[in-house]
């Protein structure tokens, strides 16, 4: 297993499967009477959040605490990072405090790489979302969720077809998912208006469609991405109404999905914009379960990065 988790390309397929399998074992343990495991006792894990994200932060925090690690939250508001302290100085401070791992969320693409490659600290770096680049733990929890519901007895995702719908251009979730889901054998189709697809998307291992209706009935899972209201003022889109009409998951589109197909969303949702309340709350929706799975997957990541070869005692 590698030292850092910066992007999906750091993982081999067997690394990825090992994370998913470990997460399954840990999930079973979490469902038991003793939620907390002693595995990372005495280890210090820092949540370095230079960008607001309550969900991801508390998910990592819960994961670290269930493994008995000490967690320090270092969040953007009022922190030195927002006062213009350099990433280098912050890293050296965390090193001096003895951080065994730093989970970093940052608005700059590549910030996790810069932190890991700067040789300013010796601990592991886990990318919890860097700008519009990657969000590997989200992709791993998505893969975990899809495997649980859709994999036809396979260990990987071969034979599955998955749609990712929305603002692909600015989505770190989409980038990590395209890399991971295809590595695990799935076919990925990206659905978006042309303005929200990057120039260069043709080089990605995914199909592209501008027509949600032609895709929705042929996939095993659909991952709806959050659309930022700024995209309207930045002229990527005429207006929210039009986006919702062509790319939103409403009741009608929901009804055309395959029998066992599932609806996913990394959160937070804009109900009524990219996803209607009926879709978000339908029987197909696994959105709340994604949150739960996120904790198990993040436990597995922390365990494999920090405890390494140590036997998992449950």
């Amino acid at each position: 297993m590698m030292r850092h988790l910066l992007s999906i390309s750091d993982l081999t397929k067997s690394d990825a499967l090992s994370i998913l399998n470990t997460a399954e074992t840990l999930a079973r343990a979490s469902d038991g009477p003793m939620k907390k495991l002693p595995t990372l006792r005495g280890r210090t894990i820092v949540n370095l959040f230079a960008e607001d994200s309550t969900r991801t932060r508390i998910s990592f925090e819960a994961a670290a605490k269930r493994l008995s690690a000490d967690v320090i939250n270092f969040s953007a508001k009022g922190s030195s990072l927002s006062k213009g302290e350099s990433l280098k100085d912050t890293a050296q401070t965390l090193q001096a405090m003895g951080a065994d791992a730093v989970i970093i969320r940052h608005n700059a693409s590549g910030a996790a790489h810069t932190l890991a490659k700067g040789q300013w600290m010796s601990g592991s770096v886990i990318n919890a979302g860097d700008g519009t680049h990657e969000h590997p733990s989200q992709a791993l929890l998505d893969a975990f969720t899809i495997r649980k519901h859709c994999a036809r007895g396979n260990e990987d995702l071969s034979g599955l077809r998955i749609a990712i719908v929305g603002d692909i251009l600015h989505s770190r979730v989409a980038r990590s998912n395209v890399a991971l889901l295809t590595m695990l054998g799935a076919q990925v189709v990206l659905v978006a208006p042309p303005t929200l697809l990057p120039i260069g998307v043709a080089s990605w291992p995914a199909e592209v469609s501008y027509d949600f209706d032609s895709v929705i009935g042929e996939v095993d899972a659909v991952i709806m991405l959050r659309i930022q209201i700024e995209r309207m003022t930045e002229m990527y889109l005429p207006n929210a109404r039009e986006y919702s009409r062509f790319f939103g998951l409403d009741k009608d589109r929901l009804s055309t999905m395959r029998t066992n197909a599932i609806v996913m969303h990394p959160g937070p949702m804009n109900r009524g914009l990219e996803i209607s309340a009926e879709s978000a709350d339908s029987a197909r929706s696994v959105i709340v379960e994604q949150v739960k799975n996120g904790v198990s997957v993040r436990m597995a990541i922390l365990y494999l990065l920090l405890a390494g070869t140590q036997e998992l005692e449950i």
Partner: protein
């Protein structure tokens, strides 16, 4: 006290063997002589090419305002080490060189340093804001005799401002050097827009944002019968448009930087901001088109866009980092690597692209002259087959943001002679 120099056993760009005698700042003989003239310092140029002293049309010396990154003196020393005898100090200093007093200040600092001629470039618009014309006439008329005007760092994007600037400088045979970057298409841009940017999630700077301005300004220059120079061309499409313009006889010239002749946007995959530069590194296809364009003369010159930055401006997140790379000390070896060793250009063409053509565009008198008796003693001696490893800790510049750190480059500058004075001597 005048220095006498004798450069022996060298080869001129045209292949002729020559011994060069220099006295009182002027070349006095290029005939092979049996021994050095009395009292002359001897420079052994065995295995070396002797070029007319190099002239850079695009240099950031950072003084006044950012002396922590570079000064006129340190930049002059870096230039001398790179074989240069003249540089063009860009106007984006603080305060901006948009009036006679700033350009005269920079000019005098250059004279005082005495290692190269420092020709200040004047801003086109006040404060580089792109709205009102700067004191162009006063700068032209000043002691610095400014002939090149540029808002470099910013594009003169307003078509009407550009029209008037091109027209106005005709009055004294000036030239507008355009940083071609359509601002609306490049807002917040971080790197070339393409496959690599799509994967890295860094905001794209599309090639067409450069090409659209090049095309517009070429049409303006044609209509106004004015002189236009395009700074740092980076795209295959830009080369095509300039080729079209030259075929029509439009008075456009263009430059390419050494880094755009060698590096591509693949470098950004490291997220190492030393590769962050504006305009950005492009694709392999663009690099090849730039090399061909330079060999053909569609691109007239190599200019460094030497852009020193303090360490903290580069040792950070990519999107927070400053744009720019060092260039003066490595330009000639990079041209040797990309253009001469590939067989695309000979040394006479190197002399044209790096000395005579830039001097002519800038109207820099006494520069870019052919090596001949009576010419000014501006000479660059390079051993093209010797190699050296670039080390950012050994640069003469005050900054260390070279993208070539660790690279083994062919070509070692053995001597630089500026006005008959030895300003740099390389290792034996």
């Amino acid at each position: 006290m005048s220095q006498k120099l004798f450069i022996k056993n060298g080869t001129l760009a045209n292949g002729t063997k020559a011994d060069i005698s220099i006295s009182d700042g002027v070349i006095t003989s290029i005939a092979t002589l049996p021994s050095a003239p009395d009292g002359a310092q001897v420079i052994d140029a065995k295995d070396c090419i002797i070029l007319p002293g190099l002239v850079d049309l695009h240099t950031h010396l950072r003084e006044p305002g950012k002396e922590s990154a570079e000064t006129v003196l340190s930049g002059s020393a870096a230039a001398a080490k790179g074989g240069y005898v003249a540089v063009s100090a860009m106007a984006n200093t603080s305060p901006v060189a948009d009036n006679a007093s700033v350009v005269e200040h920079v000019y005098r600092l250059g004279q005082k340093a005495g290692l190269v001629d420092v020709f200040p470039v004047g801003a086109v618009t006040q404060g580089l804001a792109g709205e009102n014309l700067a004191d162009i006439g006063a700068m032209a008329n000043s002691e610095a005799r400014v002939r090149v005007f540029s808002d470099d760092g910013n594009c003169v994007s307003d078509a009407l401002v550009m029209r008037h600037a091109l027209e106005y400088v005709k009055g004294f045979d000036g030239v507008i050097a355009q940083h071609a970057q359509e601002p609306r298409l490049t807002h917040g841009a971080q790197m070339n827009e393409g496959i690599v940017s799509s994967q890295l999630g860094l905001k794209g700077w599309p090639a067409i944002a450069e090409e659209a301005i090049i095309a517009r300004d070429i049409l303006l220059a044609d209509f106004l019968q004015a002189r236009l120079h395009i700074c740092h061309v980076t795209t295959a499409g830009g080369v095509e448009i300039i080729r079209w313009a030259k075929a029509r006889g439009i008075a456009v010239t263009a430059e390419v930087t050494p880094h755009h002749l060698l590096l591509t946007d693949e470098s950004a995959r490291s997220y190492d901001a030393v590769y962050k530069v504006n305009p950005p590194l492009r694709t392999e296809k663009d690099v090849m088109a730039l090399r061909e364009g330079l060999a053909e003369g569609i691109i007239d010159i190599v200019a460094t866009d030497h852009a020193p930055h303090a360490t903290e401006s580069k040792e950070c997140e990519w999107q927070e980092a400053s744009f720019g790379m060092l260039g003066l000390e490595t330009a000639l070896p990079i041209v040797n690597l990309t253009m001469v060793q590939t067989g695309l250009m000979n040394w006479e063409q190197v002399a044209a692209r790096m000395s005579s053509a830039p001097a002519k565009i800038g109207r820099y008198e006494n520069h870019g002259q052919e090596i001949a008796v009576g010419a000014k003693g501006h000479i660059t001696v390079i051993n093209p087959t010797a190699t050296h490893r670039v080390d950012r800790d050994l640069v003469v510049s005050r900054s260390r943001n070279t993208p070539f750190h660790g690279l083994e480059l062919p070509g070692v500058i053995m001597a630089t002679v500026f006005g008959g004075k030895l300003t740099y001597e390389g290792n034996k």
